[in-house]
Symmetry: C2
Subunit: 830 residues, 2 copies
Amino acid sequence: MPLIPPARSLLWRSLRIYQVYGANTEVGKTVVTTILCKGARRFWADEETAYVKPVSTGPATDADDLHIRRFAPEIDTKTLFQYELAVSPHIAAQASGQPIASDEGVLVEVSKAAARQASRGPGWLFVETAGGVHSPSPSGSTQADLYRPLRLPVVLVGDSKLGGISQTISAFESLKLRGYDVDTVLLFREGQFKNYEYLAEYFKEHHDIPVMSFLQPPKRIHNDPNADAEAMSRYYDDTTKTDDNLRDILGHLDTRHQTRISRLESMSTKASQTIWYPFTQQKHLTPDKITTIDSAHSDFFQTLTPATTPPTAPTPTNPPITPQLLQPSFDGSASWWTQGLGHGTPKLALAAAYAAGRYGHVMFAEAVHEPALALAETLLGGMGNARLSRAFFSDNGSTGVEVAVKMALRAARVRYGLEEGGERLGVLGLRGSYHGDTIGAMDCSEPCVFNEKVEWYEGRGFWFGYPVVEYSQGSWRVRWPTEMSDLGGRASVSYDSLSAVFDVENRESGEDGRIYEEFILATLRKLVAQGQKFGALMIEPVVLGAGGMLLVDPLFQRTLVKVVRKNPTLFGDGPSHGDRAGDEKTWSGLPIIFDEVFTGLYRLGRFSAASFLGVDADISVHAKLLTGGLVPLSVTLASESIFNAFASDDKSDALLHGHSYTAHAVGCQVALESLREFQKMDARGDWDWAKAAHERIESVPQRAGSRSPSSNAVWSVWSPEFVSWVGQLPSDFVSGVWALGSVLAIRITSADGMDSYKSSAARSVQTALLQNRQSSGHDGVDNSPGNVHTRVLGNTLYVMTGQTTTRESVQRLEFSLRGAILEAKKGDGI
Amino acid sequence: MPLIPPARSLLWRSLRIYQVYGANTEVGKTVVTTILCKGARRFWADEETAYVKPVSTGPATDADDLHIRRFAPEIDTKTLFQYELAVSPHIAAQASGQPIASDEGVLVEVSKAAARQASRGPGWLFVETAGGVHSPSPSGSTQADLYRPLRLPVVLVGDSKLGGISQTISAFESLKLRGYDVDTVLLFREGQFKNYEYLAEYFKEHHDIPVMSFLQPPKRIHNDPNADAEAMSRYYDDTTKTDDNLRDILGHLDTRHQTRISRLESMSTKASQTIWYPFTQQKHLTPDKITTIDSAHSDFFQTLTPATTPPTAPTPTNPPITPQLLQPSFDGSASWWTQGLGHGTPKLALAAAYAAGRYGHVMFAEAVHEPALALAETLLGGMGNARLSRAFFSDNGSTGVEVAVKMALRAARVRYGLEEGGERLGVLGLRGSYHGDTIGAMDCSEPCVFNEKVEWYEGRGFWFGYPVVEYSQGSWRVRWPTEMSDLGGRASVSYDSLSAVFDVENRESGEDGRIYEEFILATLRKLVAQGQKFGALMIEPVVLGAGGMLLVDPLFQRTLVKVVRKNPTLFGDGPSHGDRAGDEKTWSGLPIIFDEVFTGLYRLGRFSAASFLGVDADISVHAKLLTGGLVPLSVTLASESIFNAFASDDKSDALLHGHSYTAHAVGCQVALESLREFQKMDARGDWDWAKAAHERIESVPQRAGSRSPSSNAVWSVWSPEFVSWVGQLPSDFVSGVWALGSVLAIRITSADGMDSYKSSAARSVQTALLQNRQSSGHDGVDNSPGNVHTRVLGNTLYVMTGQTTTRESVQRLEFSLRGAILEAKKGDGI
């Protein structure tokens, strides 16, 4: 297939690969690399040593590999891309008239060269970069960014010249903030500036990294090439043969390599003895089931490859494949629904570092700092909900929900004049909802497998059944719960498109709207007649996440909100308060809480998931994607009418909640960067390709003539063709499917009839996706459709991309999924 | 007084100060600065423009300020420290034979020069650094670190030479990760390497920072100084007079300066309209009561100075003092008890950035990554508690406590064969304890002001009264609660020293031990007789934090743990299980939870606060100092015997808790760095000065001959002299005081008789401390004892330092505190 495979971090047991970066251009990278090559060849005489220069500029007659060929003819050397002009590769490439090497192209060639070297047996490989760490590559990205997916351990050649201390430390910091491990800093001993002495102490004290040094190479003798070559040759002899130092340096690098591998290989065992995992029954969690993650980049983890035996015995024409120890694995759960901008994004790393450097964490009560205020402003502005005016910070979705509950119930209690410590107010919600793991957040859901064994759990409220939406047997269906179909006499309603289902304004005035309203009102009246008291309506707009990845009919949620707002007398308001319903910003009936922790901030393609419903919340909870996927942070937004319920002359009437790291600067700064980036992507039309694909299929009739993707249409990065392919699989294998924004959910028909968290029906597809192991060819480049790491919820398999995942990646994923589904289906005997 | 005042960030309304950093040495910093100076002089002709070079190396005849004097004689120029040798300042200073300028010395001189300039009226000041951003200062620290406390906005001069792209980006990143704002990048336009073109696009795309350029200066004419000067002079004329560009650049800098100030001045008003503050009654929170924090460094916030009028009218000999807009304020609550390594620590910023770059966040269920595993190992190892073997990650102390409760109660339920969903198990605790803000954590405390108005709160358990320790009226007293003094007939017991109180092994065998055991056992028997069921004992070892900063008699807590462990039959164990008490690692009686969120990880001077009690917990909760004070993270440690209670073939028996960012790599990496740093400080004896001071006074008799601080003695950074001074103030003003580790707590005698969260007795001292405003003299250097930002808990004022706070800082704080206490006392009419 033509799709570009994901880059793979390079790690082989027997091949030590080091990438040589320079603190600056002209610091002696090539000389140092030559010494390292010669030393490796000398001290590991039975093994192979090779040198690769991925990109070289300047006349080929003066190239770095020629230098190595001349002074270390015993070394296998290779330049992968050569451009004639002696300037930065991005200019040289443009000027060359040759095709410009793409980042992927460079990574593929380096990977191939490394794989070839690994197949030759144990040895060393040094990969020399060009210029400084941030010198541009042919395509224009900087080298530190370009090579990051390979995450080779680094030898940093320091700068021994005047100013070199600064260059060396800064270059190191740039590498570090991209997640590189710098294993040593090497530089020339120089008498006047003494950079070596300073840097050795600096790196030992601050980073515990050894700085080692070599003699200065002889001065170039420009007018006598032979004498120059002879001097250089002598220098290499001296350095290689007499310098014990060199043995130490290579010994250190060898030890680092071995230590890294043995640590990686022991981690799952140690984890199984030391870690208590979240939401995991560990009785059967043997080490082989624990994924060891070495690093992550963009959409991919780089995980330790499970030990396997080669499928076929090697033959002369089919040489043994040396197993690569790491493999890319698509992060198909978006790391528990958090990822938006990809793993290892330098922008977020730098934002985190900036806030850490500017503030660390500063206490927030009665204080304000720029990232917190700017984030509050950006979030309130982005929501497009005129009710919301206040931002309360906490640490995660669960605490954000507890804050929301404290806010709403107090507001209801104050409004309705109920006594403190009197009868408990409950929440109205939807069955199968899930709002977090702290006990108060758990209390917002009805008893279920997530909470039934939790001490102190007490479901406080009432939870409605509701119609769910999915694509099945060739059409979009809204399936009604039993209690409702009794009312309207229907089990399900079919629609031509998902956009038609989401056309809530039209549908509201029809039959569905009428039945929903009737059903909700009748239920509420019954509850009130039973004497139940409520203090909030809390829903996850559009999608119930942990409850099973259910797409809820948006019209039902819209109607629920409207009915609650229109009927304040049901909840305790006297008739005199009825006029408040006319105030656009004051809550009415019950405070409405939208838990957008999962569904908000572009997960479903829009800033706020509330916009799908066309109704606004009084309180809105945000987390997960809030920081683009980097650190925990939550913001609970509220209206002034909720806020005012806490105003009093008594300090203890305040909202008594606040964690120590409330509004921590690192989280706020990262969230601010993330939201701005999402908004920029939205404005720039980064998802137009996905919108256009759905517009073709999804557009409701009156928009058929429109060319540009409609801003109101629903869309997904998952192609309509793929969704419809899945939806048309036999119903004894797939019950239904839906895709919205970056989420795809497939309900596998459960053989055991279970429809819950405990079911394992979707596991077979999950296993097939994960076992889609990378089969590296002899060239070391992956040709398989790709390994996908997913999580399942009962019999639902979901796959969630990030907001920066490319169209090509999704195509690749769909290809993987088709394969895995068919394989699982075969296994299922269907 | 001889104490060095804290550095103050420099910001005046009318003086625009920019610090010029270079991407490398020899990039033309001086030329660019000369152009900026000349331009400022030209376009702001009515104002002053000045130039300062803090540290210069090389012969004075070739110094940068001479260059400016020659080509911009209209500019006021000054070099503060000059060293002859043309090498890096750290070498030049050593070689000079002159005294080496300390970092503080350099900061003081720059501050004075800036203050002088500000007093001359509106204008510009350019401060030119030496070499690159990380070039060492005379003392050896790098410039980017040295100047950080001033946090001047930066003009970065980019490198237009080959390799300069890399140098410029790396230098920028080093500044950024120290919290600097780089307002523009300036460099020379150069034809061949086109660094300008690349960097302009790069900084616009990635950082939204304008890169602007100047013409290349003429080549040096070495053999004809006059021609050289003439060419240079022409260059400056051309650049200054005809380059519209320069006007744009300065206009941009001017706008940035004005925008920064107007934003700072509007922030408290905007915050009062937008932010919902934690634990704050906002009805009376007017903008003037909100602290605007511009940045923070080491122990100090840099806050916006409240608008004030000068106390005296200016006279010719006493010129007007231009108010500085920022002031340092000691972070006396350690930012809600979180700070250990100081604000803006580059080590932590880089650790955060590294983890962000290597992983971002990766999902943790059934996966493992290096920072999480290494942190678990380090924490388990550091605790010295053989029971603990498992680490469960969550996001903050409150969620960590909920996890602990879920663990403990399940273990008790399983052990004692109680039915799920049956009778609720409660916790045993201490009165006034506080474990967090989520509802489940609140349920662990008895009804009090923090929770009585929280919906759904339900105190679940029993809370003991207990003896508290404080220094009062010349001795250390252990005061017994009423119910206990009935038992032993005593209200309080006096001790010679705090170490004597903490000598729990000796005391245990005495009268106190006997009475405590009797009291606890009698109470438990009564509770059991009433039919109460318990599932855990949960205590904050040694100090109850939010409950009022109470020092609890460690012997009481020790006895409580031992009694619970020795009497399993009280809690449901049959006699046949009695043998488990002999197993050192299996829990007995009830699972013992230590909430060390506040007291652990060196807050009280030791890795674990449990070591003061000499008994080990089965479950231990850690947060706050865990990340050194940067980001939220919590770890709940547990024993294998607790862990095993969740092992089952049923998935839903697992511990169903786990936030999306569980074990987020940034938090784990930062925590790992912090713990290692604390342990290094401990091993290195960084607190020996404090230990020695207490050893003199505190040592119990048998250790009197010992010279070295005993590792078992209790100590504090607060001097015994100061504590005893406070403790001997009249009892109608101060009721008691104690200090341990980095914590000092002073109980002010409440005039209104209230002893609770609502009391405002301690506010007068707090106000005096905060009003201790910096009075800057004409030299711009602060001579006041210092402004201290504190929080109070009812009638208790506490001050908490970080773990890196110096002895000098504590002396300064004690001086401030004496002043504030005396002032408050005076106001109190005593």
